[in-house]
Symmetry: C2
Subunit: 336 residues, 2 copies
């Protein structure tokens, strides 16, 4: 065990698109667990689009990271020392948010869940068996009310949530359509079961491209991006469409600035569409059942996982920036 703990701390709220210098790498002593607590060493650190909202002074759904604080984030880690009777040294656990971008964290037993490598490899516990699986499941079925026969368009389809949504669609008899940046990512989406899709960087008429792959309109739009993709899909809604506002990653560079562009209230009215902002945290009381189902599908091999793994704590901000710029195919993680 090392005797120092490296930590990425937020230097300042990013202005526009975050950049490497928005964080500084600090070193400190490895913390000591208090009564009932555990010392946990990171094996994999999470980076995810929601983190953009947490490093902004803008109002958000949860408290953010203040300049000077350790950057928040989930992790899969191994218990090094434990004052809890629920976990022993050597146990592998997953933390959804509270670990932070660091080598070691002290957490309580209520902050983590046990990881069972027999169910799925470690990275899956920050993906389909973590918050992203739950996000895909509740967003698609509870908010999107996806049902047999629906055309479901997913933006950021090659990302973690997008990939899971596409596969859940297949299991549910929906027709998943991917919107992603490049043909390489679109090919990855097709491999996972997406029926068709659009590589938006290669389209001059995005609205027409969506119409081409969704000739009967979009029944469920699982939106992870906002921006021009959102605009194109809003013009292609089927009657009674559901729009799940899950993420707004295309706004990452313009956080806090007004997002000026065309509005589609008339389209929402004519289609009698429902648009709903969605946070998986609101479904906490029902995580248990969803996790059991997701784990079952993983065991059956019905939910494939694609990962994009960067090595080394020192590369964590770079991995996050890569994600914001759309460089990843599959769930972006950092391996320590």
């Amino acid at each position: 065990m090392a005797d120092t703990n490296r930590q990425w701390r937020l230097a300042a709220y990013p202005v526009g698109m975050p950049k490497q210098s928005d964080w500084t790498l600090a070193e400190g002593p490895v913390p000591e667990p208090g009564p009932g607590e555990m010392l946990i060493r990171a094996l994999y650190l999470d980076v995810a689009p929601y983190m953009r909202g947490r490093i902004s002074p803008q109002k958000n759904y949860a408290a953010g990271v203040a300049p000077g604080d350790v950057m928040l984030g989930g992790a899969v880690g191994q218990v090094v020392a434990s004052n809890s009777d629920r976990f022993r040294p050597g146990d592998v656990v997953v933390s959804d948010f509270g670990f932070g971008w660091q080598d070691y964290a002290v957490l309580g037993p209520e902050d983590v869940r046990a990881v069972d490598e027999e169910v799925a490899p470690l990275p899956c516990w920050l993906d389909v068996l973590g918050l992203n699986g739950l996000t895909a499941y509740f967003g698609l079925f509870e908010v999107g009310m996806a049902k047999l026969g629906d055309t479901v368009l997913v933006s950021a389809a090659a990302g973690s949530v997008g990939q899971i949504v596409g596969q859940l669609c297949r299991l549910a008899g929906c027709r998943p359509i991917a919107v992603t940046s490049t043909q390489a990512k679109l090919a990855a989406c097709r491999e996972l079961g997406f029926a068709d899709g659009v590589a938006y960087r290669e389209e001059s008429d995005l609205c027409g491209a969506v119409a081409r792959v969704c000739p009967r309109g979009v029944d469920v739009f699982f939106d992870n991006t906002a921006g021009p993709i959102h605009d194109a899909v809003l013009q292609n809604l089927a009657a009674h469409a559901r729009v799940v506002i899950c993420g707004t990653v295309s706004l990452a560079a313009r956080f806090g600035e007004p997002d000026i562009g065309p509005r589609f209230l008339r389209h929402v009215l004519v289609a009698r569409a429902t648009m709903q902002g969605f946070l998986v945290l609101d479904y906490k009381s029902r995580y248990g059942v969803a996790r059991e189902r997701l784990a079952g599908w993983v065991r059956e091999g019905a939910l494939a996982q694609r990962f994009d793994i960067v090595e080394g704590l020192e590369n964590t901000p770079a991995a996050f920036l890569r994600l914001l710029h759309g460089g990843n195919i599959g769930k972006q993680l950092v391996k320590l």
Copy 2:
């Protein structure tokens, strides 16, 4: 009985805000009812904001009026001649849409409902006992899911639907907040039971004005306008707010043009708000129960009506334009 039938026919699709010359007054013979049909003479003609969407080549939720056709619209009228065994000459009936801007129409018994003046005066049958009452009822409770204690903000609050929504809120223990153009209209809203409100033409900071009257945020936003009022309210949503997109009258002058302005997807996400396009026609199978309830509240004096009545068929386009420009206080009708 006159021997000519005056008809307002659409001359051409309006460009931008409709104007008087978009219609022409034609005269023709009084039509003859066929087997099972009735000849009905108009007593009151309806003018309503939804008509803007019906005189446009833009995609809409229902077929529009083509240039040359008689302008569509509901009416309260008296049966003059009847080949139906369901209605007799002298009976008063109401048509929701199909009558048109004319002195006489031939309709079938399935196109009209019987009017009972003992329940409410004739104009009410085009207002609280017509589609507007149903729009307020289903929009507020089914789409908006308004419940005891909610703050409900209503745009175009001094219009027909707005007035009914405000009063239904009072009956349901909600706190109705009016947004309307002038202090005179706001005073009318207060008389009907609105708790507070904003006269938007007199506010330089509309977003701040909404915050002032809704200090804990807006739980239900019953939106009849779109545009800058919508923008201000979207920045003041309470967590889990519901936004009912009922009408877009502020876009009347820009129909078919892109509506460019700030977008609030981030606000929708952070508030986990639901925004839904709403058409009362989708609730047709449940009109019966709603009408019984509305008639009950009218009989009890719990739903007051304010009308703004123009006289003479020749003034029908002017009455409609008055409505689009926000000149009316209460339900705008034309009396023949």
